[in-house]
C-alpha cells in the first residue's frame, strides 16, 4: 500500500511539470505587454528596459525554440510585443534578417532625431512628423513604409533643418534593402535554437519549486498569502456545501431505492431534478434580490449580501458564528441544491443494485430487522459510487465557483482567479493553476485511497485488485 501511494505521488512530478509548461505557454500566447503588466504604462524607454531586465523579461521564454530560419536567434531581446511582431512580419516578407535588422535599428534610433527637434518648429508639422513615425512603427506593409518615408521626406524638406533631413535620408537608405531582397524560402526552413537555462520558464519554475510564488502584480502582496486566504474561504464554503449535499442526498437516495416508483421516489426525484435544472447564477441573483434587502418588506432583509463579513476581535464565538452564518447561508444553498439530484440519483442506483445482491437476502434470512439490513449491510456496499462522485467534486471544491463567488463577493479561489485573469496578474494565475492541478491530483488519489480503504479486497491485496481467476 505504501509503495502504491509513493508510486502515485511520484507520477505527480511529470504531470505537474507538463501542466506548468502548458500554463506558461498559454500565458506567453496571451495578448498584452508583460513589462507594462509589471511596471505600469507610460514608461520611458530607459525605465521600460530597466523593468524588463529586473524581471528577466528580456530573456528567452523557454529552454529552446523552434522557429523559421528567417527569424533572428534572439528575437526575445526586443521585449516589446509590437517590435517583435514587426520584426517577424518583415522577416516573413523579406526572408533577410540583415536587411530587417538594419532598418529596425535605424527606425528605433530615429526617435533620437525626433527628440532633437527644437521646440520652435511649427506645432502642426511636429505632430505630423511624429504621426508618420508612429505609422512607420505600426505598419507591417512595406508599400506603406515607402509612402510614409516619402511623406516624411516631404515634411523634412518643409522643415528645412539639415540635421533632420540627413537623418531622414539615412532612414530611407536603410529601408532600401527591404524592398530589394526576396528570400521567402527561409520562412519554411525550421531551425532549432537553444537558449540555455537563462530563460523565463526556468526562472519562474525554479522559484516555484522553492515555494517562492512571487508577489501579486495588482497589490504587491505575496501570492502565497493571497492564495491561502482564497483557498480557506473556498474550502470552507464548498466543504460545507458538499457535506450538506451528501448529508441530504444519501438518505433520500436510499429511501427512494427502497420503494422504486413509490410516492417518495417520484416526489424526491422530480423535486431534485427541478432544482438541478435551475441555473445557479439565476437562483443566486434571486436570493440576493429577495433576501438581502428590505425592498420587499423589512422581514426579508435576513442575510448579508456581500463578502464573508468581518468579526470583531473581541466577539464571542456565538457572535462570530452569527455573523459568518448570515453570510454563509445563501452561497451554501446555491452550491448545494444542484448537487442533490446527481448524488441522490447515484445513491438510488447503487442501492437498487446492492439490494438485489445475495448477501442482502442472507442478511434478511438471518432475521435482521429491515432497517439494519439497509443501513448496516446494504449502505456500505452501495456507497462505492459515492466515492467516485467525491473524487469528481473534490477538484471543483478546490477551484471554487466563479459565479457564486462573484455574485456574493466571496474572496475565494474562483473570484481571485477571475480577477487575476482580467488584471493580467500572472504570478497569481500561475500559482493558482498549479495549486489547483496539485490539489486535483491529490483529490483523485484520495478518492482512490478511499476506494481501497472501503473495499477490503483491494486493501488486503496490496493496492492492486486481485481478480478471481481460475474459471472453475
Amino acid at each position: 500500500m505504501g509503495s502504491y501511494v509513493l508510486r502515485r505521488i511520484l507520477i505527480f512530478i511529470p504531470v505537474l511539470i507538463v501542466i506548468s509548461m502548458i500554463t506558461f505557454w498559454l500565458s506567453e500566447k496571451a495578448p498584452g505587454d508583460r513589462v507594462q503588466d509589471r511596471c505600469g504604462e507610460g514608461l520611458s524607454r530607459s525605465e521600460y528596459n530597466r523593468c524588463a531586465r529586473l524581471y528577466g523579461l528580456d530573456q528567452a521564454s523557454f529552454y529552446f525554440s523552434i522557429q523559421p530560419k528567417a527569424y533572428p536567434d534572439s528575437l526575445y531581446r526586443f521585449v516589446r510585443p509590437n517590435r517583435i511582431d514587426r520584426i517577424k512580419s518583415y522577416c516573413r516578407q523579406t526572408g533577410d534578417w540583415d536587411a530587417v535588422e538594419q532598418w529596425e535599428q535605424n527606425l528605433w534610433n530615429f526617435n533620437e532625431a525626433l527628440s532633437a527637434l527644437p521646440d520652435s518648429i511649427d506645432r502642426q508639422l511636429g505632430i505630423d512628423i511624429r504621426a508618420v513615425y508612429t505609422n512607420l512603427q505600426l505598419t507591417r506593409d512595406l508599400k506603406r513604409v515607402k509612402q510614409e518615408l516619402s511623406q516624411l521626406k516631404a515634411y523634412a524638406d518643409t522643415l528645412g533643418i539639415t540635421a533632420f533631413s540627413t537623418k531622414v535620408g539615412a532612414l530611407t537608405a536603410a529601408s532600401e534593402p527591404l524592398f530589394s531582397v526576396r528570400n521567402s524560402r527561409a520562412m519554411y526552413i525550421p531551425r532549432f535554437v537553444w537558449h540555455g537555462v537563462d530563460n523565463r520558464y526556468h526562472r519562474w519554475f525554479s522559484s516555484f519549486i522553492r515555494l517562492d510564488f512571487g508577489v501579486s502584480l495588482k497589490d504587491s502582496q505575496p501570492v502565497s498569502r493571497k492564495l491561502g486566504h482564497a483557498l480557506y474561504w473556498t474550502l470552507l464554503l464548498n466543504g460545507f456545501s458538499f457535506f450538506l449535499a451528501f448529508l441530504i442526498a444519501i438518505p433520500v437516495g436510499v429511501r427512494a431505492a427502497l420503494k422504486v416508483g413509490g410516492r417518495f421516489d417520484r416526489i424526491s426525484s422530480s423535486l431534485f431534478f427541478m432544482l438541478y435544472s435551475l441555473p445557479r447564477f439565476w437562483i443566486a441573483t434571486i436570493l440576493v434580490v429577495f433576501f438581502t434587502t428590505s425592498y420587499y418588506g423589512d422581514w426579508m432583509d435576513i442575510f448579508a449580501s456581500i463578502g464573508m463579513g468581518s468579526v470583531p476581535d473581541d466577539a464571542s464565538w456565538m457572535e462570530a458564528f452569527r455573523i459568518r452564518a448570515g453570510h454563509f447561508v445563501l452561497p451554501v444553498i446555491c452550491q448545494t441544491y444542484g448537487l442533490l439530484a446527481y448524488i441522490s440519483r447515484q445513491m438510488r442506483g447503487g442501492m437498487l443494485e446492492t439490494i438485489r445482491k445475495d448477501y442482502i437476502r442472507t442478511a434478511r434470512a438471518k432475521g435482521l430487522p429491515e432497517n439494519k439490513v439497509i443501513w448496516k449491510h446494504a449502505l456500505r456496499n452501495a456507497l462505492f459510487p459515492m466515492i467516485t462522485i467525491f473524487g469528481a467534486v473534490l477538484p471543483a471544491a478546490i477551484a471554487g465557483s466563479v459565479i457564486i463567488e462573484v455574485i456574493f463577493s466571496i474572496p475565494g479561489m474562483g473570484l481571485l482567479m477571475f480577477e487575476a485573469v482580467f488584471a493580467n496578474d500572472w504570478p497569481v494565475l500561475f500559482a493558482g493553476l498549479m495549486l489547483g492541478a496539485l490539489l486535483t491530483l491529490l483529490g483523485v488519489l484520495l478518492a482512490d485511497l478511499m476506494y481501497a480503504w472501503a473495499d477490503p479486497a483491494v486493501r488486503f491485496a496490496g493496492g492492486t485488485k486481485s481478480k478471481g481467476h481460475g474459471g472453475n
Binding site: T362, A365, N381, N472
Partner: protein, 572 residues
C-alpha cells in the same frame, strides 16, 4: 395427533407481472416432521427455490406483484401451529433466522463483501441469543469449529474474499445455525462447489442435523445429492409435486418418468454407457408402458473402450509450462513472485478422440486449456498442431489457425453478447473467416448449425435472454462448431447446468463428435462426467499431470491421492 414441524397446504405462488402470469408454485402440499430431512428435487424453474423463499417469507422483499395463497403451518410450541403466511412482519422476523434458517446456492455472493466473516456470525448470535460482544465471539468460534473450518481464528477475522467457496458455505452454515433453528432450508448449497468440496459439505450437513436435531429441507436439481442426505424426497416439476417417497425406494423404483429420468441421467463411474439416459427416454410408449431403467440402459448400450490409434497426433504439447507473475511487492523490487500454473506438461491429442482433463479448482486445467488454443502464451515448451510448431507463431498467423481450434466456456450466461441475436453471434465467425460467401448462404449455414444442436431455425433472431442455460450452452457449442474446427476445448461446459440438462448437452457433444469427427479436450472437476465423455483421462494437480488412464479403467485403481479423492467424491 402429533403435528408436523411444518405443514404446507395448497401453497400457490403466481408472478403476476409477467404476461401471461407465471404460476411458479401450483397448489403444493407437503409436511416436514420434527427431525426429518426432506429433499426437494427438480430442474431449474420447477418452483423449488420459490417454495423455499415462500416459507421464509423472503418473497415479501421482491419487487413486482406476487400473488401468494395457501397455508404454511409452523409448529411454534407444542400443540400450537401458526400460519407463516398470516404472520405480521415482526412476528415473522422472530421465526426467520431463529427457528427457520436458510443457506443459499451461491456462497460466493451470499456473504457481505465488506464485513468480516466473524462479525456476520456474531451479528446473528447477538440478534437471536442476546449475547454481549465477548460471549458472541466465543459462541461464534464454537460454531466455526462445528462447521469444521480449519483455522477458526483466522476465519473469524477474514473477509469473504479471502476464503474459498467451500469455506464460505461453511460460514453461511454457521450463520444459519446461530439461532439453533428447528428447520434448516438448504437451497442448492453445493451446486456451485467442486465435487469433492460438495461431498464434505453434505457430510457436514448430515452430521450437524443430527447434532442439532434439526429438520432439513434440502433442495437440489441432483437426485443423487438429495438421496445422499435425505430421508424422504419430493420431486417437483412445473410448480407441482409429481412424486414423493422415501429416498431409497424413490431412487431405485420411481413411478414417474421424470423421476426415473432424474435418477438415471447422472453419469456413473461404474457404468459407461454410449449415451446418457435423458428424461425423454423414460416417456411412456404408445401403449402407456413406461420403460424401466434397465430397459433404457440396455437399449442405449455400453460405450466402446478406447483403443490406441497409429495416427499422428493432431495436437501435441511437449514440456509446456506457463507461469504467472504476481504484482511487484515493493516499488523497487524487480519482479513479483512467479506462480507456475502449468508445469512441464506433455500431452498428445489424436484425431477424433476426447481427452478428459480433471482436477480441483486451481489445478491449472483451465490455464492449460487456454494455452492449447493459443489464448495464453507458453512460457516454455513446444506446442505443435498437425505436426507443425505453433507455439512461436505471431498473432496474425494464430488468427488463421483460430478457426481450427475452438473453445466452449463454462458460463453460458456471460459468454454470449446480450445485445446480439444468437443467429448473428453464430454467423460472426463465418464473416470473420469468410468461410461461406454471401449473407444468405451464411444464414443458411447458421440455421443448419442451430438444427444440429437441437434448436430451431426461428430462434435465429432471438436474443440470449430468451434462452435457458442449457439452450445457451447449445448456442455456444454451435458457435464453436461454425468453423468446423478440428479441435474443440470444452472448459467446464456443463458444470453450471442441471444434471438433466447436463446429460442432454453431453449427449449432444458426443453425437456431434461422431458426426463431425473433431478432437476434443473436456475439462471438468467431475470425474464421473469426464469418465463418460472422454476416451482417455488426465488428472491434473498443481500444474502437473499426476495420473493418466483410459476412461472406464482409471477409477478402478487410482494411483494418486487426488484421483482417489475425485473418485470418492463422484460416488457421493
Amino acid at each position: 395427533m402429533q403435528h408436523p414441524l411444518l405443514e404446507i397446504c395448497d401453497l400457490r405462488v403466481v408472478f403476476e407481472d409477467s404476461s401471461p402470469p407465471v404460476v411458479a408454485v401450483d397448489n403444493i402440499r407437503f409436511s416436514i416432521a420434527p427431525g426429518e430431512s426432506l429433499g426437494l428435487v427438480g430442474e431449474s424453474g420447477s418452483g423449488k427455490s420459490i417454495t423455499a423463499l415462500s416459507i421464509m417469507r423472503l418473497l415479501d422483499f421482491e419487487n413486482g406483484s406476487i400473488q401468494k395463497s395457501g397455508r404454511m403451518l409452523f409448529l411454534e410450541s407444542a400443540g400450537k401451529q401458526s400460519d407463516l403466511m398470516q404472520l405480521k412482519k415482526d412476528e415473522m422476523r422472530r421465526i426467520r433466522g431463529k427457528r427457520i434458517a436458510m443457506i443459499f446456492q451461491e456462497p460466493m455472493h451470499a456473504l457481505n463483501p465488506v464485513m468480516r466473516c466473524g462479525d456476520q456470525i456474531t451479528e446473528a448470535l447477538k440478534l437471536h441469543k442476546s449475547l454481549d460482544d465477548g460471549a458472541a465471539k466465543k459462541a461464534a468460534l464454537e460454531l466455526l469449529q462445528k462447521v469444521q473450518i480449519q483455522d477458526v481464528n483466522r476465519a473469524f477475522i477474514s473477509y469473504p474474499f479471502q476464503l474459498s467457496g467451500g469455506q464460505k458455505q461453511r460460514i453461511l452454515i454457521a450463520i444459519a445455525l446461530a439461532g439453533n433453528p428447528e428447520l434448516l432450508i438448504a437451497d442448492e448449497p453445493t451446486t456451485a462447489l467442486d465435487v469433492h468440496v460438495q461431498k464434505a459439505i453434505l457430510d457436514l450437513l448430515k452430521d450437524l442435523r443430527q447434532e442439532f436435531g434439526m429438520s432439513m429441507l434440502f433442495i437440489s436439481h441432483d437426485l443423487g445429492v438429495v438421496s445422499a442426505v435425505c430421508d424422504r424426497i419430493l420431486v417437483m416439476k412445473n410448480g407441482k409435486i409429481v412424486e414423493a417417497g422415501p429416498a431409497k425406494s424413490l431412487f431405485e423404483d420411481a413411478q414417474h418418468p421424470y423421476t426415473r429420468g432424474l435418477a438415471a441421467c447422472r453419469p456413473k463411474l461404474e457404468e459407461r454407457l454410449n449415451r446418457l439416459p435423458e428424461l425423454k427416454d423414460f416417456l411412456p410408449d404408445a401403449s402407456g408402458n413406461m420403460p424401466s431403467p434397465e430397459e433404457v440402459r440396455s437399449r442405449i448400450g455400453a460405450a466402446s473402450a478406447w483403443s490406441k490409434t497409429d495416427d499422428a497426433p493432431l495436437l501435441q504439447l511437449e514440456q509446456g509450462s506457463v507461469w504467472f507473475e504476481s504484482p511487484r511487492k515493493h516499488l523497487f523490487s524487480r519482479k513479483g513472485e512467479v506462480v507456475k500454473a502449468v508445469h512441464d506438461v506433455d500431452l498428445q491429442v489424436f484425431p477424433g478422440e476426447t481427452i478428459g482433463l480433471v482436477g480441483a479448482s486451481g489445478s491449472g486445467k483451465t490455464t492449460l486449456g487456454r494455452t492449447l488454443v493459443g489464448l495464453l502464451p507458453l512460457n516454455s515448451g513446444k506446442l505443435s498442431f498437425r505436426g507443425q510448431t505453433i507455439s512461436d507463431l505471431d498473432a496474425a498467423s494464430w488468427q488463421s489457425l483460430r478457426k481450427d481450434l475452438q473453445m466452449v466456456f463454462q458460463d453460458p450466461y456471460s459468454s454470449l453478447n446480450p445485445r446480439k441475436s444468437i443467429g448473428e453471434a453464430i454467423r460472426e465467425p463465418l464473416q470473420v473467416h469468410q468461410l461461406v460467401d454471401g449473407k444468405q448462404a451464411q444464414r443458411d449455414r447458421v440455421v443448419e448449425l442451430l438444427e444440429l444442436v437441437g434448436l430451431e431455425a426461428d430462434h435465429y433472431h432471438r436474443h440470449p435472454h430468451a434462452f435457458s442455460g442449457g439452450q445457451r450452452q447449445r448456442i455456444c457449442i454451435a458457435r464453436a462448431l461454425t468453423l468446423e474446427p478440428d479441435f474443440l476445448i470444452c472448459d467446464e461446459s456443463v458444470s453450471a447446468l442441471d444434471v438433466s440438462i447436463q446429460a442432454q448437452v453431453l449427449n449432444l457433444l458426443k453425437d456431434l463428435q461422431d458426426k463431425l469427427h473433431f478432437s476434443c479436450i473436456f475439462i471438468s472437476h467431475d470425474l464421473a462426467v469426464v469418465n463418460f465423455i472422454a476416451d482417455r483421462i488426465l488428472v491434473m494437480d498443481q500444474g502437473k499431470i499426476v495420473e493418466q488412464g483410459v476412461a472406464g479403467e482409471l477409477y478402478k485403481n487410482p494411483q494418486s491421492e487426488i484421483t482417489r479423492r475425485l473418485v470418492e467424491a463422484s460416488r457421493l
